[in-house]
Symmetry: C2
Subunit: 565 residues, 2 copies
């Protein structure tokens, strides 16, 4: 694999190439086959004891970063985080009064990293991920107490699954940077004369400083792909976390800086850019002329602003959408209901991939147990959710806590019937361990497509069972919704090959990936690195996908040097 | 190679897959090795008799295109072209009073093309190129009489070399569209339980309508990469030629439509969008909401306008730059002079890759024949140009004609000394065959870096010998020039490994490809498809390169469909 030698890199970096060569090779193979693969076990077994919140509280992180002239946190008034489960985190982070100093420090670190080449960079990134992986219990607790995810989900999605997505980006970046050989001989015949001979070098160079703007709900899972894609292609990265979810990315920056320093590089290749309340640091950094790449996950309003205004940068955005499911027919009615109930409940629907609008023919659907009327389907789905979440302890472990006041307000309005007739009212669940946590079961609301526009994005535990005339109308509404409002996911249940073809055609046309007839332990909300793409970049919800060539190929450019042989 | 079957494509398209499979395979291999390769012989031998201009004159092309409600040309007042060699072309093209009809026709053609898949599309593109290749003499004459290139250059650069760049784009697009397998099985172990099994399809889908905005000087060479990259990735293409260089792209559209129809596809996948004088059609089409990809070669002003305003589209631009050569030392002084003289003279310097600013230490340079003073170098270079172009017939065959009045005006101002002291005055050359043609040898102008800013872009046969303090200053000026004004090429002459390292570092830093010590039959202006990259996308002269993954990877998106196995 190593078509590139690492002889100019520091000895420590060369050792990392040895250490992670096999992982890189397996990962490259996985990228091509798309079968299941991960070097990061997803079970908490083997990761050691859980890390309690108080082991993370009352700490100071990264205060020695360049440009630091103050602190973010530990007080909530100064930007300190408060867990959705109640307690304040009381962690202090560095604050740079002049964010330009962060940009300057990052730029100063770039040349040696750029020169190290794709293989050394990939190996160093692998070591950062190995370090992060070994600290998974710590990350799990940090993710749980910033996002409100339940511990199990915070562990998996915030730990190994996020690490998988990061490694995927690293390997994808490595593959794209090595499509051209490092050196090539060119020999052009000239008839009877001597051939022309040239020696050509192809050298990938970074774009410049990258900016990651993190999100509240999945700081690592959604943050790692852009961070590692930029870093692996030679760009220093400023990590601007969401003010409510600083800790997981601060731990990430800490691990990255440690490894970079040990490997002989300037740790300022990765810098935390935390902000005090109301500072608007993302805007300031996004418009800095030296910031050349931006990765963003969050609201459509700010994503659109970035795309419109950060013109000096490549901007990769994941924004909001309306995820739709077409329910036409099934040969496993209980399986469908259980799968849907889980998808709606997981992390209280606070995933960009959670389904929201379930389109069901008002004439009902066919099942293996005979026809079910619309009312039956809606009632049975409500029953499945109720059953899944009947036990408070189990419900807490699936729902997690409401992440922020905006979501809480929406679910309370839903509970009052403001979004439509309730088929299932949201219910407050009390956690024995965290009585302060705001935990809510999903609301299921009845709507009718005949009454006007479909529900727009309603982020949180709020789903709509929408009566439609027939499946054909459902498919058209799916298409329209994806085109006009965007979607991260789409799903359909049907036993009809004809309906399946129509749904597939609509999804190809509108640009959304499709999960068909999920009735088991795979859920429409979830995608697996090295196999599934997350997003498509083909509809308004996102302009990029984790992780295809387009996600990495423009983060670097190739410079050619040629001379006579 | 064919991991994808073509069983759903029309029979004629399947036959093309058979016919061009071997070419595709060889081209894929060439892309990876970057050795010399081309299926398009560059010698006129074997292409049959030249096609005289009058065989092309007085014709009507493509008047049956949808949306046609008038004509462009044949009169010059209605947009008909006039050869830089004198005669009017008197060719009529279709005019669409409502350009939206072209967009609508293109969109209507898209679905079947999108469905055909990457392999069939690649094969159909290969057939279009085979058809174009077989008409190379016709294209040579069309390129010559629209661009002013001499016949030999119009033949090679406008014919086989342009076809090479097109095929490179087709194959690069094919490679990127097939990075993911068409279908994958995913099996995730679940301990003692049955594994989870999913079947996943990965389906590339096009972005939408593409727009090619052609240039005056290299309508095919610079137009083909974007056109074929978009077409091969499933997007219909509107071809908006430069008003002075319609014919070569009209012949291209004609060949493409013929082949598409024969292969069972809607010919409206490729449409000519010619305009009447002053219509501003490029602007109108560039802002059309359905236009999703734009490829442009031309002025910086309009390129910047496109980047700023065509926000609904991916915009690939090649604009203007200032190409610089650092002259430090050489071990082949005559070879260097001859190589530079040729580079400055070829097509009267009307290439985006022609060197303009030659930076020479005022203390002179070291050569194998001892030191040469600055004056000697400049005088010897002027002498080399004079010698190369001493014979009018030979000069005509190298220089071609001045492409448009703007260039003529600049070269006349240069001749009057308005840009600086003349080391070599431009000379009018008279072609026996085309006495009306405006043919000019290059002006070589002396400047001093101490007198202020370096010369800005001065497109045409105008080069500057710029005295600098020393090579170190030359390297810094190269870096600054590339960063601030952009460059398509850079070159250096040096026998010093240290200087070479400094120049390479500056080029990597500023983002321009470098030709070192060219003294033979390879020129800084020229790049070879399948081996050299054209442009880097890393400096202001261009935001993309022919042809890397980044040039094609975003022209399509991948939609995933997954279901339980």
């Amino acid at each position: 694999m190593a078509h590139e030698t690492a002889h100019e890199a520091p000895a420590a970096a060369r050792e990392l190439v040895e250490r992670h060569g096999a992982t890189l090779e397996s990962a490259l193979a996985a990228l091509a086959t798309r079968d299941y693969w991960s070097p990061h076990p997803e079970s908490p077994r083997g990761y050691g004891e859980p890390v309690a919140l108080d082991a993370l509280q009352d700490s100071e992180l990264l205060l020695d970063q360049p440009g630091t002239d103050g602190r973010v946190g530990p007080d909530p008034e100064q930007g300190g985080e408060t867990s959705p489960y109640g307690p304040p985190l009381r962690v202090a982070y560095p604050h740079a009064g002049d964010p330009g100093l962060l940009v300057a420090a990052a730029r100063a670190a770039q040349p040696a990293w750029a020169q190290a080449g794709p293989l050394v960079r990939a190996a160093v990134c692998c070591e950062i991920l190995a370090r992060i992986n070994s600290r998974t219990p710590e990350f799990a607790t940090a993710v749980m107490h910033t996002t409100g995810q339940a511990y199990g989900m915070a562990f998996q999605a915030g730990g190994p699954h996020a690490q998988d997505r990061a490694l995927e980006a690293v390997v994808c970046a490595y593959a794209e940077q090595t499509r051209l050989p490092g050196t090539a001989e060119w020999t052009k015949p000239q008839g009877k004369r001597d051939p022309l001979r040239m020696t050509k070098e192809f050298i990938p160079v970074p774009r410049g400083v990258a900016l990651l703007i993190g999100c509240n709900t999945f700081p690592t899972w959604n943050g790692f792909p852009g961070l590692f894609a930029s870093l692996a292609t030679g760009n220093p990265v400023l990590v601007k976390p969401h003010p409510r979810a600083v800790l997981p990315l601060a731990l990430t920056v800490q691990a990255a800086r440690e490894v970079l320093l040990e490997a002989g590089f300037n740790p300022d290749l990765v810098l935390l850019a935390a902000e005090q309340p109301g500072e608007g640091l993302a805007r300031t950094l996004a418009l800095h002329p030296e910031v050349r790449i931006i990765d963003y996950t969050g609201s459509t309003v700010f994503g659109d602003w970035l795309e419109d205004n950060a013109r000096q940068a490549l901007v990769y955005t994941e924004k909001a959408g309306v995820n739709t499911i077409v329910v036409d027919s099934t040969d496993d009615y209980p399986g469908m209901l259980a799968n849907l109930a889980f998808s709606l409940s997981l992390y209280s629907g606070q995933m960009c991939t959670t389904p929201q609008n379930l389109l069901i023919p008002r004439t009902g659907i066919a099942t293996e147990a005979g026809p079910k009327s619309l009312d039956e389907v809606v009632t049975d789905l409500a029953g499945a959710v109720d059953k899944l979440l009947g036990d408070d302890a189990r419900a807490s472990a699936l729902l997690g806590a409401i992440v922020n006041p905006g979501v809480l307000e929406r679910v309370e309005r839903a509970g009052k019937g403001e979004y439509g007739t309730l088929a299932l009212a949201p219910r407050a669940v009390v956690s024995a361990e965290f009585p302060q946590a705001l935990i809510r079961t999903p609301a299921l609301i009845r709507r009718d497509a005949g009454d006007g526009a479909l529900p727009d994005e309603c982020f949180g535990p709020i789903a709509f069972a929408v009566a439609v005339d027939d499946t054909a109308q459902a498919v058209e509404l799916l298409r329209e919704t994806v085109r006009e409002r965007g979607a991260m996911t789409a799903a359909a249940y049907t036993t009809s090959p004809e309906v399946e073809r129509a749904v597939v055609a609509a999804c190809l046309d509108a640009g959304v990936s499709l999960s068909l007839n999920l009735t088991g332990q795979v859920y429409v909300n979830q995608t697996a690195a090295f196999s599934d793409l997350h997003g498509t970049g083909a509809n308004p919800a996102a302009n990029a996908a984790y992780c295809d060539a387009a996600f990495v190929a423009s983060r670097f450019r190739v410079i050619e040097v040629r001379r006579h042989s």
